[in-house]
């Protein structure tokens, strides 16, 4: 009896470490330890949760196939992200290269004086050969505009000339 009480007192002083959680779920505790641990669990919800999590972990670790599958999926995922990133980098690099090449070409065409003179010549020849296009082939307002633009003095001068011509 005395021995039992001493044992119980000793057990009460024992500090439960995180190791005990593992050992409890692996059925590695002796009977006294088990009793003490269960008692502590009753009063401690956090410990209860931790034991529950540990049991779940043990279950998941037993299923090594799923863990392997998840690792492979994660790797594929990472690789896809990497590939997409690489593709974007390549697209950006290609755009820059294109812009640089285009800019260089344009500046060469503009700077070369020979090219510029030729360009001006071509333009002037074109200007001479091709008349300005009219929107309407016949300008029906042509006469009206002339009349409109004429000043009173000019009109009087015109009529005087017409009179003289008639006479």
């Amino acid at each position: 009896m005395i021995l039992n009480i001493t044992n119980t007192l000793n057990m009460k002083d024992i500090e439960i470490t995180s190791e005990w959680i593992d050992r409890y779920n692996e059925n590695d505790l002796n009977e006294d330890e088990k009793v003490l641990f269960r008692k502590r669990m009753e009063n401690n919800p956090l410990l209860r949760t931790e034991v529950h999590i540990d049991a779940c972990l043990n279950e998941l670790y037993q299923d090594d196939g799923t863990l392997d599958l998840i690792k492979k999926i994660k790797n594929i995922n990472k690789k896809t992200d990497r590939d997409e990133g690489l593709l974007w980098y390549m697209l950006i690099a290609a755009s820059f290269l294109y812009l640089i090449a285009f800019g260089t070409m344009m500046s060469l065409v503009r700077i070369d004086p020979g090219n510029r003179a030729a360009d001006v010549n071509v333009r002037s020849v074109e200007n001479r050969l091709v008349p300005k296009a009219k929107i309407f082939p016949i300008d029906i307002f042509e006469g009206l505009n002339q009349v409109k633009n004429i000043t009173p003095d000019a009109r009087r001068e015109n009529s005087r000339r017409q009179q003289l011509a008639l006479n």
């Binding site: 995180s18 540990d54 779940c56 972990l57 670790y61 863990l67 599958l69 492979k72």
Partner: protein, 197 residues
């Protein structure tokens, strides 16, 4: 030219966890899942989660004999994703508007009983695996070897560690670290919210 595989070949490949077939399924089906998710303003991480979870469900089903598809693999895969996605949206909505919904809405409005797909399981699994894979590399290796029933002495030899006592202590420490990581994960509280309601 792109290779085409029959559904049987793909399922067989997935059963054996062959990277080539997993990659093929991922490449072929992800765009459809992405479209589905983006329609309801989901993001890229939702897509990754759904594809991963659907792949695990498909893998686990394929291991259970007899596994027979009554539709194409693509349809089956997409329907798993759709169910998971609708349940997830339902849960998000429920968490946001908990007080109003408690009175009006029946729970599990999107659950398909015949498919036994539960988003809660998926959340839990994702949370646990995410943290398992976030452990330091040596911890991951020790725990994996331990659960493959490799003796401590052998683990010490394989990993070039001091002795079996060190491995044992390290294993406890790693497990403790993992538990703490899970308990401090914001998703963990969300998961236990599900369990409570």
């Amino acid at each position: 030219m792109r290779l085409q595989y029959s559904d049987e070949v793909l399922i067989k490949g997935l059963q054996q966890r062959k990277l080539h077939y997993i990659s093929y399924i991922y490449r072929e089906f992800t765009p459809i899942v992405r479209h589905l998710v983006q329609q309801k303003s989901g993001n890229e991480s939702d897509v990754d989660d759904l594809v991963q979870e659907a792949m695990i469900i498909l893998y686990k089903r394929s291991l259970n004999e007899p596994f027979k598809l009554e539709c194409s693999l693509k349809t089956f895969f997409i329907s798993i994703c759709k169910n998971l996605w609708l349940q997830r949206l339902d849960n998000r909505y429920r968490l946001l508007y908990q007080s109003e919904l408690e009175v009006n809405e029946p729970s599990q409005s999107y659950a398909l009983n015949e498919m036994e797909i539960r988003e809660e399981d998926s959340v839990k699994r994702r949370l646990f695996y995410k943290n398992m894979l976030a452990l330091p590399a040596d911890c991951q290796r020790i725990l994996e070897l331990y659960f493959l029933k490799v003796p401590f002495r052998e683990i010490a030899r394989l990993m070039g560690l001091r002795d079996e006592f060190y491995v044992k202590t390290r294993k406890y420490a790693c497990k403790n670290l993992l538990r703490k990581k899970i308990m401090n994960d914001p998703e963990y509280h969300q998961y236990f919210e599900y369990e409570r309601h």
